[in-house]
Symmetry: C2
């Protein structure tokens, strides 16, 4: 038997598991990464906190409690300078009922941001993608309960917003986001190219380093 630990990634999206496995391997960590597909009874966690890290904490704690295993969760979104940092934690539901009624929430959210920035000139169209990633490890078992472990890290990718979509990869606001120093949108990059510079990639690599120290 090896010493490898099992970590639960608090997502139902199986596509996110290889990314996490690659990042942990890169960090030299011997860990098995499983998703919520293996825990069909895991609780649905409402993302009602006012911050990315607050939402990631809610999810990671709930899954660590449910599974008894170290759990990793993330929450991310877009902060637009000219909107005082909004949509932020509301990125996925920025267009409210209008997005829900339209049948394509991602498209409606992006269209709404474009409209809200219609009068914003190029030099004020800065924005950043932000991701918080959290590791929550449950209390140890007998003989004595250990202290609960919680690690919160953040990754940021600065850039600016176009006036029209470009590219078919990624999701959400990717088609209008050009990272600083790039000419392509993140929707014009491969998943590998994007992960190398993205807010999520940055946050997960930070967390992998902390995982190595803690587990």
């Amino acid at each position: 038997m090896s010493d490898s630990v099992t970590v639960v990634l608090a997502t139902r999206n199986a596509k996110k598991l290889p990314e996490m496995r690659a990042i942990l391997a890169e960090a030299g960590l011997d860990a098995d990464v499983v998703g919520l597909a293996d825990y069909p009874d895991a609780p649905e966690v409402a993302e009602t906190a006012a911050t990315f890290s607050g939402n990631a904490l809610l999810k990671a704690r709930a899954i660590a409690r449910h599974t008894g295993l170290p759990a990793v969760a993330d929450d991310s979104g877009l902060r637009v300078d000219a909107l005082n940092g909004m949509p932020g934690v509301l990125s996925a539901r920025w267009s409210g009922r209008f997005g829900a009624e339209s049948g394509d929430r991602d498209a409606a959210n992006l269209d709404l941001v474009l409209d809200q920035l219609a009068d914003t000139p190029e030099e004020r169209r800065g924005a950043e993608f932000v991701a918080a990633a959290v590791l929550a490890a449950p209390h140890g078992a007998a003989p004595e309960p250990q202290e609960e472990v919680e690690e919160v890290v953040e990754g940021v990718m600065r850039g600016s917003l176009l006036r029209e979509r470009r590219g078919g990869n990624g999701f959400g606001y990717d088609p209008i986001f050009v990272p600083d120093g790039e000419v392509r949108t993140t929707a014009e990059m491969s998943a590998e190219e994007k992960n190398a510079i993205s807010h999520r990639g940055i946050a997960f690599r930070k967390l992998a380093r902390r995982l190595g120290e803690l587990l």
Copy 2:
């Protein structure tokens, strides 16, 4: 002939003139207030500035230049704490194309704010109405051009946002805004009651005092 000056209020809404006249009279000022209905060729001014005072300045300057008379303009909106002060200068077009398509922009803007605050608990539903009012007086005539006069003042009304509409008066976000120390929304108040405490009333009374000193 009296010494009374004529002031142009930069609005096409004739209903706003009596309010301004009452405020000037209250301030002991002998001024004639006219609106843009008397200046059909006055330029339409796009409100593209990033601040309320910036927009009011754009309008007041353009109208002072066009009419050769002292001009007063205002711009106002709602700052929502949980939206980092947005919609702010975007208050009238917050819902973008969705409001335009719906045929009732005010209703769509309000619905969108309600949706964006759906998960925001009572203690975090603070907001404020803000108005900037600007006086711009054109350069003096012969013998020597005087310096251009520009005065910028601001009025703020703090309150909090309900989860459902109440009241049929006012406009915009009034049906969900309850001023601090009140139990009614500003849509449940008469125009006089609202003007006595409102951001616009506060700003215009400040400006009336400055007008008295300057003109």
